[in-house]
Amino acid sequence: VLLYVLRRIVQAAFVTVGVSIASFALIHLVPGDPVRVSLGTRYDPQTAQVLRHAAGLDRPLVEQYLRWAGHALRGDLGVSFATQQPVGSAIVHRLPATLTLAGAALLVAVLIALPLGTIAAVRARTPVDYAATAISQVGVSIPDFWIGIMLIFLVAGRWGWLPPSGYVSIGQSFTGWLDHLVLPALSVGLVSAAILSRFVRAAMIEALAQDYTRTARARGLSQRAVVVRHALKNALPPVVTVTGLQLAYLLGGVIVVETIFAWPGLGRLALDAAQTRDYPVLQGAILLFALTFVVVNLLVDVLYALLDPRIQVR
């Protein structure tokens, strides 16, 4: 297993470097640059020239990349054009909000998807299954931000039960933290739940049809024991994979939901950076997203190997 993990780590490193090169090139290909945006509509070419030179933007692209990569390897992601804040600390600043939302949304997703998917599988091709399928179809088709807008409009606006937007850290106030978290976590979590429940259902149906399940039944185990202890346990590996990918997606920031809920997460940091062409921040954020995907994938694979001993190094 160790060799397998090592090989996966080396692959992951290559992927990360590849992503950083591709994103660096793409970011610089987009029209406009940070100096143009920061000067706004009043554009003075001489001032722009001075600023571009000071920022090293007049250097060849390859040189700019190598300089960035050299610093990045030493843990220095540069300084934001707009705020002069170190990129590393700008990102770290956004982590608590992002982790909170991703974690809460995933919790919502798993809590809904596991029971929903399992029931649908056990009662496959009955009205219960069709209802569950319909619910998750609707969930998959509705964009998360639409759910968010509706929740804000009804729960916060009409009924006044919860605040419409904003973020309170758990250190500031636990109830404030929870109050502000519920609506965005639901908006994102419901969609993830819909996706996840389809996988749970499929995996469970497959597991329920296996010989070991029939054997378990034949041994006279209760339906509950068969479903939970035998079928569900064996259905987990593919579900873990999808859950992991969902987590990586959530950590990458759910840009529109963060914008609607004024949630100070990484997605909005990246969006603002993209709009102002704040290259260092954008590059740092993309690097982090890439790393998250790579690391989560790696962990999922390792977990997979542990859950399913048949997966071996080859």
């Binding site: 700008a90 600043h93 409009f153 914008t259 100070p264 909005r268």
Partner: protein
């Protein structure tokens, strides 16, 4: 506007009349004019408390000489002071400078500085700070250097006076140094330790406490503030709420006390909400679009005039602003002292078609650059597209993000670009750089020697009545030759909880909280 707010308009008119007789431009010392907008009677003011204000944008750093982001200046307006500042009527009033004189040849201006002023870090403010700041305003990497092109040098004269030495007379010097907080007086120590971009320190009513990116900015009362009775609030918290309708929900729910703008679709319901006050006043910004004269098909003045005849400004205003704007064929709004009535065009598709025919232009297509950053530009663009379709011009509304918009405007990669200009006070702000041959902001490539003659005259003459005539003549030509096709002046629409007192929206969209107090 007039219909809904007779009181505000009367106030504005009174202020304009008062300003006409004020000494702001005269060569004798200016007297400290009283605050033009009504401050609440002292007895009713309740001190203390926090104002929670919702703003839409994310600040892009807090260095007033580096950033141009409106969100940054929503904060900086309350942290920094300038030498002079626009009153409610946009005439320049004393601030850090108490009075000023000009030499006979108009080439040196001497400003007397206020004594006993301290920065928020407790250090005394002197002429050395103004000299230091002025050099920073005029530095090569400064965003505001263009405003001081006429200045040769700035020197101290003792501890409490500074002298501006000019290359040429600058009749608009006061609005150049006071019309925008980018010319804030900054203490050199925060430049030296490189914290100016993250933690501004000024002489203004509120002291910067913290910025949590994506979330909030917190200011607290400056105990050293030189208007000793102000500010009334202990604290101002700016909440960053990017989505306009969520911002409104926060106001109606009472999570925030004040919002910086009201989306037009929420106006009606917000006006009916109890506990909320909506205020709308005519603003100094203007929206326009300009045909790219670097492309051959837009070089014929008749074609540009046809486009101007082919649009219905009233309808565009209704669609883009739900009527919260005043259609205008020129840039300067009716409420300004510099207003000159100019309206050669009226909506006339038949005349537009005739002009196109006379110019031999047929099958015209027009790639109109607008930006998703300002949905208003997209709405205006769509109406323009529909209307120009009627006269046989096929318009493609090209909605891009702002960075791309700026890039393509700069490169001339469009048939026309549509946007607005903000924060204009002096007529030079409105017309010079946009329409002078080779002007810094003349991206449409307009050039007329006649216009230049009037623009140059207006830039130099110190006779203000003559200046007004010069700019009116320049504007007439600019409008008639359709260098810009002007659309409207938007209203400044803001809303707050009724417990908020002492706030008034300003035509320059600057946000000042020093006179605000919150009822219990």
């Amino acid at each position: 506007v007039i219909r809904r707010h007779p009181a505000l308009l009367a106030l504005a008119l009174a202020a304009v009349a008062a300003a006409a007789s004020a000494a702001a431009f005269a060569s004798r010392p200016a007297t400290a004019a009283p605050r033009a907008h009504a401050t609440p009677a002292a007895a009713t003011i309740q001190r203390g408390g926090t104002l929670v204000a919702a703003i839409s944008g994310e600040p892009q750093g807090f260095d007033p000489q580096k950033t141009t982001a409106y969100a940054s200046f929503q904060v900086l307006e309350n942290v920094y002071d300038t030498l002079v500042e626009p009153g409610a009527n946009l005439q320049m009033q004393p601030a850090l400078a108490t009075s000023w004189t000009q030499s006979k040849n108009h080439l040196t201006w001497t400003f007397q500085l206020r004594k006993g002023v301290k920065f928020q870090n407790g250090r005394a403010f002197t002429s050395a700070d103004v000299v230091y700041s002025a050099n920073r305003w005029r530095a090569k990497a400064s965003q505001v250097a263009y405003r001081l092109a006429a200045v040769k040098s700035v020197t101290a004269k003792g501890r409490y006076a500074v002298v501006f030495h000019l290359k040429a007379p600058a009749p608009n010097l006061l609005s150049a140094i006071g019309g925008f907080k980018g010319l804030a007086v900054v203490p050199k120590e925060i430049v030296a330790d490189n914290t100016i971009g993250r933690h501004p320190v000024g002489t203004g009513p509120f002291e910067f406490v913290k910025y949590a990116p994506g979330d909030e900015i917190v200011l607290k009362r400056n105990p050293y503030y030189w208007r000793t009775s102000q500010p009334y609030l202990d604290q101002v918290v700016y909440k960053i709420v990017p989505d306009a309708s969520v911002k409104t929900t926060n106001l109606t729910g009472g999570q925030v006390d004040w919002i910086d703008s009201v989306p037009s679709q929420s106006l009606k319901s917000l006006r009916k909400t109890s506990g909320v006050k909506v205020a709308s006043i005519p603003g100094n910004d203007y929206w326009y679009f300009a045909l790219n004269e670097k492309r051959k098909q837009w070089q014929d003045v008749r074609v540009r005039q046809a486009i101007s005849y082919g649009i219905d400004r009233a309808q565009i205003t209704e669609a883009a602003r739900a009527g919260e704007a005043t259609p205008n064929q020129a840039a300067i709004p009716r409420t300004s002292t510099w207003y000159a009535p100019i309206s050669p065009f009226h909506y006339n598709p038949a005349k537009a078609k005739a002009l196109l025919k006379a110019a031999g232009a047929s099958d015209l297509t027009l790639d109109l650059l607008v930006t998703s950053q300002y949905p208003e530009s997209v709405a205006a663009g769509q109406v323009i597209a529909a209307e120009l379709g009627q006269i046989g011009v096929k318009v493609k509304v090209d909605s891009v993000d702002f960075g791309t918009w700026l890039d393509r405007e700069g490169k001339g990669d469009d048939d026309a670009f549509l946007l607005s200009w903000l924060g204009n006070i002096d007529p030079q702000d409105f017309y010079y750089a946009q329409h002078h041959c080779g002007g810094a902001d003349n991206f449409q490539g307009f050039c007329s020697k006649q216009v230049d003659k009037y623009l140059d005259a207006g830039q130099k003459t110190t006779n203000q009545a003559q200046r007004k005539r010069d700019y009116a003549k320049a504007a007439q030509l600019i409008v008639k030759q359709a260098s810009y096709i002007y659309l409207y002046n938007p209203d400044v629409v803001q809303a707050w909880r009724t417990k908020v007192h002492g706030y008034a929206p300003r035509p320059d969209s600057a946000i000042r909280f020093r006179t605000v107090w919150v009822g219990k």
